[in-house]
Protein backbone atom coordinates (compact mmCIF):
# COMPACT_ATOMS: atom_id res chain seq x y z
CA UNK A 1 0.00 0.00 0.00
CA UNK A 2 2.86 2.37 0.86
CA UNK A 3 6.04 1.93 -1.05
CA UNK A 4 9.06 3.98 -0.08
CA UNK A 5 11.98 3.96 -2.50
CA UNK A 6 15.38 5.39 -1.72
CA UNK A 7 14.01 8.25 0.38
CA UNK A 8 16.43 11.08 1.05
CA UNK A 9 15.84 14.21 3.07
CA UNK A 10 18.24 17.07 3.61
CA UNK A 11 17.81 20.05 5.90
CA UNK A 12 20.34 22.37 4.38
CA UNK A 13 23.63 20.54 4.66
CA UNK A 14 22.33 18.04 7.16
CA UNK A 15 21.30 14.75 5.65
CA UNK A 16 18.60 13.32 7.88
CA UNK A 17 17.43 10.42 5.75
CA UNK A 18 20.01 8.59 3.72
CA UNK A 19 18.07 6.48 1.30
CA UNK A 20 15.30 4.54 2.97
CA UNK A 21 13.34 1.85 1.16
CA UNK A 22 10.52 -0.19 2.60
CA UNK A 23 6.95 -1.29 2.03
CA UNK A 24 3.94 -1.08 4.27
CA UNK A 25 1.13 -3.50 3.44
CA UNK A 26 -2.53 -2.73 3.85
CA UNK A 27 -3.63 -3.39 7.43
CA UNK A 28 -0.09 -3.64 8.63
CA UNK A 29 1.04 -2.00 11.86
CA UNK A 30 4.62 -0.82 11.64
CA UNK A 31 6.58 0.48 14.62
CA UNK A 32 9.40 2.89 13.79
CA UNK A 33 12.06 2.76 16.44
CA UNK A 34 15.43 4.36 16.91
CA UNK A 35 17.50 6.75 18.98
CA UNK A 36 16.60 10.45 18.89
CA UNK A 37 17.96 12.20 15.85
CA UNK A 38 17.83 9.00 13.84
CA UNK A 39 15.32 10.53 11.41
CA UNK A 40 12.28 8.49 12.39
CA UNK A 41 9.98 11.50 12.78
CA UNK A 42 11.22 12.97 9.53
CA UNK A 43 10.57 9.64 7.84
CA UNK A 44 6.99 9.68 9.10
CA UNK A 45 6.46 13.32 8.14
CA UNK A 46 7.60 12.59 4.60
CA UNK A 47 4.74 10.12 4.17
CA UNK A 48 2.14 12.90 4.38
CA UNK A 49 4.47 15.48 2.87
CA UNK A 50 4.75 17.66 5.93
CA UNK A 51 8.37 17.34 4.89
CA UNK A 52 9.15 17.33 1.19
CA UNK A 53 11.55 14.50 0.33
CA UNK A 54 14.76 15.73 -1.24
CA UNK A 55 15.06 12.62 -3.34
CA UNK A 56 13.39 9.25 -3.81
CA UNK A 57 9.80 8.20 -4.26
CA UNK A 58 6.85 7.44 -2.04
CA UNK A 59 3.93 5.58 -3.59
CA UNK A 60 0.58 5.35 -1.85
CA UNK A 61 -1.84 2.99 -3.57
CA UNK A 62 0.26 3.18 -6.69
CA UNK A 63 0.27 6.97 -6.79
CA UNK A 64 3.61 8.72 -6.61
CA UNK A 65 2.97 11.41 -4.00
CA UNK A 66 6.35 13.05 -4.54
CA UNK A 67 5.38 13.81 -8.12
CA UNK A 68 4.91 17.54 -8.72
CA UNK A 69 1.48 17.09 -10.27
CA UNK A 70 0.13 15.33 -7.18
CA UNK A 71 -2.44 17.23 -5.17
CA UNK A 72 -0.81 17.30 -1.73
CA UNK A 73 -4.07 18.18 0.01
CA UNK A 74 -5.78 15.11 -1.44
CA UNK A 75 -2.90 12.92 -0.25
CA UNK A 76 -3.10 14.32 3.26
CA UNK A 77 -6.84 13.78 3.45
CA UNK A 78 -6.09 10.12 3.02
CA UNK A 79 -3.25 9.95 5.53
CA UNK A 80 -4.18 10.82 9.12
CA UNK A 81 -1.56 12.10 11.50
CA UNK A 82 -1.30 12.21 15.27
CA UNK A 83 1.34 14.46 16.81
CA UNK A 84 3.36 14.21 19.98
CA UNK A 85 1.90 17.46 21.26
CA UNK A 86 -1.67 16.81 20.06
CA UNK A 87 -2.10 20.18 18.32
CA UNK A 88 -5.82 20.28 18.95
CA UNK A 89 -7.44 23.55 17.90
CA UNK A 90 -7.77 25.33 21.26
CA UNK A 91 -10.63 27.60 20.19
CA UNK A 92 -12.81 24.71 19.13
CA UNK A 93 -14.56 22.14 21.28
CA UNK A 94 -13.61 18.47 21.06
CA UNK A 95 -16.48 17.83 18.66
CA UNK A 96 -15.71 20.92 16.58
CA UNK A 97 -12.13 19.70 16.32
CA UNK A 98 -13.51 16.53 14.74
CA UNK A 99 -16.05 18.15 12.45
CA UNK A 100 -14.00 21.06 11.12
CA UNK A 101 -11.94 19.34 8.43
CA UNK A 102 -14.65 16.95 7.16
CA UNK A 103 -17.01 19.90 6.72
CA UNK A 104 -14.42 22.22 5.23
CA UNK A 105 -12.55 19.80 3.03
CA UNK A 106 -14.88 16.91 2.29
CA UNK A 107 -18.05 18.95 2.12
CA UNK A 108 -19.91 17.00 4.79
CA UNK A 109 -23.00 18.65 6.18
CA UNK A 110 -22.89 19.73 9.79
CA UNK A 111 -25.26 16.99 10.91
CA UNK A 112 -23.36 14.29 9.03
CA UNK A 113 -20.03 15.46 10.43
CA UNK A 114 -21.41 15.69 13.96
CA UNK A 115 -22.93 12.24 13.75
CA UNK A 116 -19.61 10.71 12.67
CA UNK A 117 -17.78 12.89 15.15
CA UNK A 118 -19.87 11.71 18.08
CA UNK A 119 -19.47 8.08 17.01
CA UNK A 120 -15.71 8.50 16.95
CA UNK A 121 -15.66 10.22 20.34
CA UNK A 122 -17.71 7.31 21.63
CA UNK A 123 -15.12 4.96 20.21
CA UNK A 124 -12.27 6.67 22.04
CA UNK A 125 -14.42 6.83 25.18
CA UNK A 126 -14.94 10.58 25.27
CA UNK A 127 -18.55 11.23 24.26
CA UNK A 128 -19.03 13.01 27.58
CA UNK A 129 -16.37 15.54 26.61
CA UNK A 130 -17.77 16.41 23.19
CA UNK A 131 -18.51 20.00 24.09
CA UNK A 132 -15.46 20.69 26.22
CA UNK A 133 -12.61 22.87 25.01
CA UNK A 134 -9.19 21.16 24.81
CA UNK A 135 -7.83 23.06 27.82
CA UNK A 136 -10.39 21.24 29.96
CA UNK A 137 -9.04 17.83 28.93
CA UNK A 138 -6.14 15.85 30.32
CA UNK A 139 -3.19 14.97 28.12
CA UNK A 140 -4.46 11.47 27.48
CA UNK A 141 -7.91 12.76 26.62
CA UNK A 142 -6.44 15.36 24.28
CA UNK A 143 -4.50 12.69 22.44
CA UNK A 144 -7.57 10.48 22.12
CA UNK A 145 -9.49 13.44 20.66
CA UNK A 146 -6.57 14.04 18.30
CA UNK A 147 -6.74 10.43 17.14
CA UNK A 148 -10.49 10.73 16.61
CA UNK A 149 -9.94 13.99 14.72
CA UNK A 150 -7.58 12.27 12.30
CA UNK A 151 -10.01 9.34 11.92
CA UNK A 152 -12.86 11.73 11.13
CA UNK A 153 -11.32 12.26 7.71
CA UNK A 154 -11.67 8.50 7.12
CA UNK A 155 -8.04 8.02 6.16
CA UNK A 156 -6.63 4.78 4.83
CA UNK A 157 -3.37 5.21 6.73
CA UNK A 158 -2.67 6.59 10.18
CA UNK A 159 0.70 8.03 11.18
CA UNK A 160 1.59 8.44 14.85
CA UNK A 161 4.56 10.62 15.77
CA UNK A 162 5.52 9.66 19.34
CA UNK A 163 1.89 9.82 20.45
CA UNK A 164 2.59 9.04 24.10
CA UNK A 165 5.90 10.84 24.64
CA UNK A 166 4.33 14.00 26.01
CA UNK A 167 1.97 12.20 28.37
CA UNK A 168 2.13 11.58 32.09
CA UNK A 169 2.89 7.92 32.69
CA UNK A 170 -0.58 7.09 33.99
CA UNK A 171 -2.17 8.36 30.77
CA UNK A 172 -0.05 6.38 28.36
CA UNK A 173 -2.17 3.25 28.62
CA UNK A 174 -5.48 4.88 27.66
CA UNK A 175 -3.94 6.18 24.46
CA UNK A 176 -2.19 2.93 23.63
CA UNK A 177 -5.46 1.07 24.21
CA UNK A 178 -7.21 3.25 21.66
CA UNK A 179 -4.40 2.60 19.20
CA UNK A 180 -4.58 -1.11 19.88
CA UNK A 181 -8.30 -1.11 19.12
CA UNK A 182 -7.60 0.76 15.94
CA UNK A 183 -4.97 -1.78 14.92
CA UNK A 184 -7.50 -4.57 15.45
CA UNK A 185 -9.92 -2.90 13.03
CA UNK A 186 -7.35 -3.42 10.29
CA UNK A 187 -6.14 0.15 9.97
CA UNK A 188 -2.77 0.58 8.31
CA UNK A 189 -0.56 2.30 10.86
CA UNK A 190 2.97 3.63 11.12
CA UNK A 191 3.98 4.51 14.66
CA UNK A 192 7.10 6.27 15.83
CA UNK A 193 7.36 5.21 19.44
CA UNK A 194 9.55 4.61 22.45
CA UNK A 195 7.01 2.20 23.95
CA UNK A 196 8.89 -1.03 23.37
CA UNK A 197 6.27 -3.19 25.06
CA UNK A 198 3.59 -1.76 22.83
CA UNK A 199 5.68 -2.19 19.70
CA UNK A 200 6.36 -5.76 20.60
CA UNK A 201 2.75 -6.54 21.32
CA UNK A 202 0.91 -4.68 18.58
CA UNK A 203 3.29 -4.14 15.68
CA UNK A 204 3.49 -6.56 12.77
CA UNK A 205 6.88 -5.20 11.87
CA UNK A 206 9.61 -3.10 13.38
CA UNK A 207 11.72 -0.61 11.46
CA UNK A 208 14.88 0.35 13.30
CA UNK A 209 16.46 3.61 12.11
CA UNK A 210 19.81 4.95 13.11
CA UNK A 211 21.62 7.94 11.63
CA UNK A 212 19.12 8.23 8.79
CA UNK A 213 19.60 4.64 7.70
CA UNK A 214 17.11 1.81 7.94
CA UNK A 215 19.21 -0.63 9.91
CA UNK A 216 16.68 -3.36 10.57
CA UNK A 217 13.35 -4.26 9.06
CA UNK A 218 12.05 -7.31 10.82
CA UNK A 219 9.28 -8.90 12.86
CA UNK A 220 8.99 -7.76 16.48
CA UNK A 221 9.89 -11.24 17.82
CA UNK A 222 13.03 -11.29 15.81
CA UNK A 223 13.94 -7.68 16.51
CA UNK A 224 13.47 -7.83 20.24
CA UNK A 225 14.82 -11.29 20.93
CA UNK A 226 17.51 -11.52 18.34
CA UNK A 227 18.51 -8.19 16.78
CA UNK A 228 20.87 -8.58 13.88
CA UNK A 229 22.86 -5.38 14.15
CA UNK A 230 25.18 -4.17 16.85
CA UNK A 231 23.45 -0.80 16.92
CA UNK A 232 20.03 -2.32 17.55
CA UNK A 233 21.42 -4.50 20.34
CA UNK A 234 23.04 -1.46 21.86
CA UNK A 235 19.84 0.55 21.60
CA UNK A 236 17.67 -2.18 23.11
CA UNK A 237 20.05 -2.65 25.99
CA UNK A 238 19.65 1.01 26.91
CA UNK A 239 15.87 0.92 26.52
CA UNK A 240 15.02 -2.24 28.44
Amino acid sequence: MIKVENLHKHFGKLEVLKGISTNIQEGEVVAVIGPSGSGKSTFLRCINLLEMPTDGRIMINGQDITDKSTNIMKVRQNVGMVFQHFHLFPHKTALQNLTYAPMKVKGFSKSEAEKTGLELLEKVGLSAKAHEYPNRLSGGQKQRVAIARALAMQPEVMLFDEPTSALDPEMVKEVLDVMKDLAHTGMTMAIVTHEMGFAREVADRVLFLDGGVLVEDSSPEEFFSNPKSERARDFLQKML
Binding site: L50, K74, R76, N78, M81, H87, L88, F89, N135
Partner: protein
Protein backbone atom coordinates in the same frame (compact mmCIF):
# COMPACT_ATOMS: atom_id res chain seq x y z
CA UNK B 1 -5.16 80.47 39.85
CA UNK B 2 -8.61 81.69 38.95
CA UNK B 3 -10.58 79.14 37.00
CA UNK B 4 -13.98 80.17 35.75
CA UNK B 5 -15.86 77.23 34.29
CA UNK B 6 -19.17 79.08 34.71
CA UNK B 7 -18.75 81.15 31.56
CA UNK B 8 -18.19 78.01 29.47
CA UNK B 9 -21.38 76.19 30.39
CA UNK B 10 -23.30 77.66 27.40
CA UNK B 11 -20.48 76.45 25.11
CA UNK B 12 -20.49 72.94 26.51
CA UNK B 13 -22.97 71.45 23.98
CA UNK B 14 -20.86 72.91 21.18
CA UNK B 15 -17.70 71.24 22.49
CA UNK B 16 -19.50 67.96 23.19
CA UNK B 17 -20.72 67.84 19.59
CA UNK B 18 -17.09 67.40 18.67
CA UNK B 19 -17.20 63.90 20.19
CA UNK B 20 -19.28 62.74 17.25
CA UNK B 21 -16.77 64.19 14.80
CA UNK B 22 -13.85 62.61 16.63
CA UNK B 23 -15.55 59.24 16.93
CA UNK B 24 -16.53 59.23 13.27
CA UNK B 25 -12.99 59.93 12.10
CA UNK B 26 -11.46 57.45 14.54
CA UNK B 27 -13.87 54.61 13.78
CA UNK B 28 -13.59 54.98 10.02
CA UNK B 29 -9.81 55.32 10.20
CA UNK B 30 -9.75 52.33 12.56
CA UNK B 31 -11.65 50.14 10.11
CA UNK B 32 -9.52 51.29 7.19
CA UNK B 33 -6.34 50.71 9.20
CA UNK B 34 -7.46 47.27 10.36
CA UNK B 35 -8.45 45.99 6.90
CA UNK B 36 -5.36 47.41 5.25
CA UNK B 37 -3.26 46.17 8.18
CA UNK B 38 -4.47 42.60 7.72
CA UNK B 39 -3.69 42.73 4.01
CA UNK B 40 -0.22 44.15 4.68
CA UNK B 41 0.47 41.54 7.34
CA UNK B 42 -0.38 38.80 4.83
CA UNK B 43 2.06 40.44 2.45
CA UNK B 44 4.70 40.32 5.16
CA UNK B 45 4.34 36.61 5.83
CA UNK B 46 3.83 35.75 2.17
CA UNK B 47 6.33 33.51 0.45
CA UNK B 48 6.43 36.01 -2.39
CA UNK B 49 9.36 38.18 -1.30
CA UNK B 50 8.22 41.06 -3.48
CA UNK B 51 4.96 41.49 -1.54
CA UNK B 52 6.86 41.44 1.74
CA UNK B 53 9.20 44.07 0.41
CA UNK B 54 6.31 46.36 -0.54
CA UNK B 55 4.69 45.99 2.88
CA UNK B 56 7.97 46.60 4.69
CA UNK B 57 8.62 49.73 2.64
CA UNK B 58 5.09 50.94 3.39
CA UNK B 59 5.53 50.42 7.12
CA UNK B 60 8.92 52.04 7.08
CA UNK B 61 7.65 55.23 5.41
CA UNK B 62 4.55 55.62 7.56
CA UNK B 63 6.40 54.90 10.77
CA UNK B 64 9.36 57.03 9.79
CA UNK B 65 7.53 60.32 9.28
CA UNK B 66 5.32 62.37 11.63
CA UNK B 67 1.60 61.73 11.50
CA UNK B 68 0.85 65.43 11.33
CA UNK B 69 3.06 65.66 8.26
CA UNK B 70 1.18 62.79 6.58
CA UNK B 71 -2.09 64.52 7.39
CA UNK B 72 -0.98 67.81 5.87
CA UNK B 73 0.56 66.09 2.85
CA UNK B 74 -2.71 64.38 2.05
CA UNK B 75 -4.86 67.42 2.74
CA UNK B 76 -2.81 70.10 1.06
CA UNK B 77 -1.38 67.78 -1.55
CA UNK B 78 -4.71 66.53 -2.82
CA UNK B 79 -5.24 69.31 -5.41
CA UNK B 80 -1.93 68.45 -7.03
CA UNK B 81 -2.38 64.71 -6.60
CA UNK B 82 -5.97 64.21 -7.71
CA UNK B 83 -6.99 67.61 -9.06
CA UNK B 84 -9.36 68.76 -6.33
CA UNK B 85 -9.27 69.47 -2.65
CA UNK B 86 -10.71 66.72 -0.48
CA UNK B 87 -12.54 67.79 2.63
CA UNK B 88 -10.60 67.86 5.88
CA UNK B 89 -12.32 64.93 7.57
CA UNK B 90 -11.72 62.69 4.54
CA UNK B 91 -8.06 63.68 4.67
CA UNK B 92 -8.07 62.85 8.37
CA UNK B 93 -9.64 59.39 7.88
CA UNK B 94 -7.23 58.63 5.04
CA UNK B 95 -4.07 59.68 6.81
CA UNK B 96 -4.96 58.08 10.15
CA UNK B 97 -6.13 54.91 8.42
CA UNK B 98 -3.02 54.61 6.27
CA UNK B 99 -0.80 55.43 9.22
CA UNK B 100 -2.31 52.98 11.66
CA UNK B 101 -2.33 50.26 8.97
CA UNK B 102 1.46 50.39 9.18
CA UNK B 103 1.41 49.74 12.92
CA UNK B 104 -1.48 47.26 12.83
CA UNK B 105 0.23 45.19 10.12
CA UNK B 106 3.21 44.74 12.44
CA UNK B 107 0.94 43.79 15.35
CA UNK B 108 -0.96 41.21 13.28
CA UNK B 109 2.18 39.81 11.67
CA UNK B 110 3.71 39.21 15.08
CA UNK B 111 0.44 37.73 16.32
CA UNK B 112 0.22 35.27 13.44
CA UNK B 113 3.83 34.19 13.85
CA UNK B 114 3.26 33.68 17.58
CA UNK B 115 0.65 30.97 16.96
CA UNK B 116 2.21 27.54 17.53
CA UNK B 117 3.50 26.10 14.28
CA UNK B 118 1.83 22.83 15.23
CA UNK B 119 -1.54 24.43 14.57
CA UNK B 120 -0.90 24.99 10.89
CA UNK B 121 0.73 21.57 10.67
CA UNK B 122 -2.34 19.96 12.21
CA UNK B 123 -4.54 21.76 9.70
CA UNK B 124 -2.24 20.77 6.84
CA UNK B 125 -2.17 17.16 8.00
CA UNK B 126 -5.96 17.14 7.78
CA UNK B 127 -5.76 18.31 4.18
CA UNK B 128 -7.06 21.80 4.93
CA UNK B 129 -5.70 24.28 2.34
CA UNK B 130 -3.76 27.39 3.34
CA UNK B 131 -6.52 29.97 3.11
CA UNK B 132 -9.20 28.29 5.26
CA UNK B 133 -6.51 27.14 7.70
CA UNK B 134 -5.43 30.75 8.04
CA UNK B 135 -8.96 32.11 8.40
CA UNK B 136 -10.44 29.45 10.68
CA UNK B 137 -7.48 28.17 12.69
CA UNK B 138 -4.58 30.63 12.77
CA UNK B 139 -6.23 34.06 12.69
CA UNK B 140 -8.76 33.45 15.49
CA UNK B 141 -5.90 32.40 17.76
CA UNK B 142 -3.69 35.25 16.60
CA UNK B 143 -6.51 37.74 17.30
CA UNK B 144 -6.59 36.68 20.90
CA UNK B 145 -2.89 37.42 21.27
CA UNK B 146 -2.97 40.74 19.47
CA UNK B 147 -6.11 42.19 21.00
CA UNK B 148 -4.36 44.13 23.79
CA UNK B 149 -1.87 45.64 21.33
CA UNK B 150 -4.66 46.38 18.88
CA UNK B 151 -6.73 48.11 21.56
CA UNK B 152 -3.67 50.15 22.41
CA UNK B 153 -3.41 51.24 18.80
CA UNK B 154 -7.04 52.36 18.73
CA UNK B 155 -6.53 54.31 21.94
CA UNK B 156 -3.50 56.03 20.46
CA UNK B 157 -5.54 56.79 17.36
CA UNK B 158 -8.30 58.36 19.44
CA UNK B 159 -5.89 60.66 21.22
CA UNK B 160 -3.78 61.47 18.18
CA UNK B 161 -6.89 62.38 16.22
CA UNK B 162 -6.71 65.73 18.01
CA UNK B 163 -4.14 66.88 15.45
CA UNK B 164 -6.89 67.24 12.84
CA UNK B 165 -7.17 70.64 14.45
CA UNK B 166 -4.35 71.81 12.19
CA UNK B 167 -6.43 71.33 9.05
CA UNK B 168 -9.56 72.79 10.61
CA UNK B 169 -11.72 69.78 11.35
CA UNK B 170 -14.09 70.80 14.14
CA UNK B 171 -13.41 67.89 16.49
CA UNK B 172 -13.34 68.14 20.28
CA UNK B 173 -9.93 69.78 20.31
CA UNK B 174 -10.72 72.36 17.66
CA UNK B 175 -14.01 73.30 19.29
CA UNK B 176 -12.36 73.79 22.66
CA UNK B 177 -9.81 76.00 20.99
CA UNK B 178 -12.49 78.05 19.23
CA UNK B 179 -14.44 78.51 22.45
CA UNK B 180 -11.26 79.57 24.19
CA UNK B 181 -10.66 82.16 21.50
CA UNK B 182 -14.13 83.59 21.90
CA UNK B 183 -13.71 84.08 25.63
CA UNK B 184 -10.00 84.90 25.55
CA UNK B 185 -9.42 82.12 28.02
CA UNK B 186 -8.02 78.80 26.76
CA UNK B 187 -7.21 77.01 29.97
CA UNK B 188 -10.69 75.89 31.00
CA UNK B 189 -12.01 74.71 27.60
CA UNK B 190 -8.83 72.76 26.95
CA UNK B 191 -9.15 71.16 30.38
CA UNK B 192 -12.68 70.18 29.42
CA UNK B 193 -11.42 68.71 26.14
CA UNK B 194 -8.80 66.77 28.09
CA UNK B 195 -11.47 65.30 30.33
CA UNK B 196 -13.55 64.29 27.28
CA UNK B 197 -10.58 62.52 25.66
CA UNK B 198 -9.77 60.79 28.92
CA UNK B 199 -13.33 59.48 29.27
CA UNK B 200 -13.35 58.27 25.64
CA UNK B 201 -10.11 56.39 26.22
CA UNK B 202 -11.46 54.87 29.45
CA UNK B 203 -14.57 53.64 27.63
CA UNK B 204 -12.34 52.08 24.95
CA UNK B 205 -10.22 50.44 27.63
CA UNK B 206 -13.22 48.89 29.38
CA UNK B 207 -14.60 47.77 26.03
CA UNK B 208 -11.30 46.14 25.13
CA UNK B 209 -11.11 44.32 28.45
CA UNK B 210 -14.64 43.02 27.91
CA UNK B 211 -13.86 41.67 24.45
CA UNK B 212 -10.64 40.14 25.71
CA UNK B 213 -12.48 38.35 28.49
CA UNK B 214 -15.00 36.96 26.03
CA UNK B 215 -12.24 35.68 23.76
CA UNK B 216 -10.41 34.03 26.62
CA UNK B 217 -13.34 31.79 27.40
CA UNK B 218 -11.64 28.82 25.78
CA UNK B 219 -8.47 29.20 27.86
Amino acid sequence: MNLDFQQFIPSLPYILKGIGVTLQIVSMAGILGFVLGIILSFFKISKFKFLGWIADAYTSVFRGTPLVLQLMLIYYGSPQLIGYKIDPSTAAVLSFGLNSAAYISEIIRAGILAVDKGQSEAAMALGVPYRPAMMDIILPQAMKNILPALMNEFITLTKESAIVTVIGVTDVMRRAYIVGGEKFSYFEPILIAGLIYYIMVMVLTVLGKGIERRMRRSD
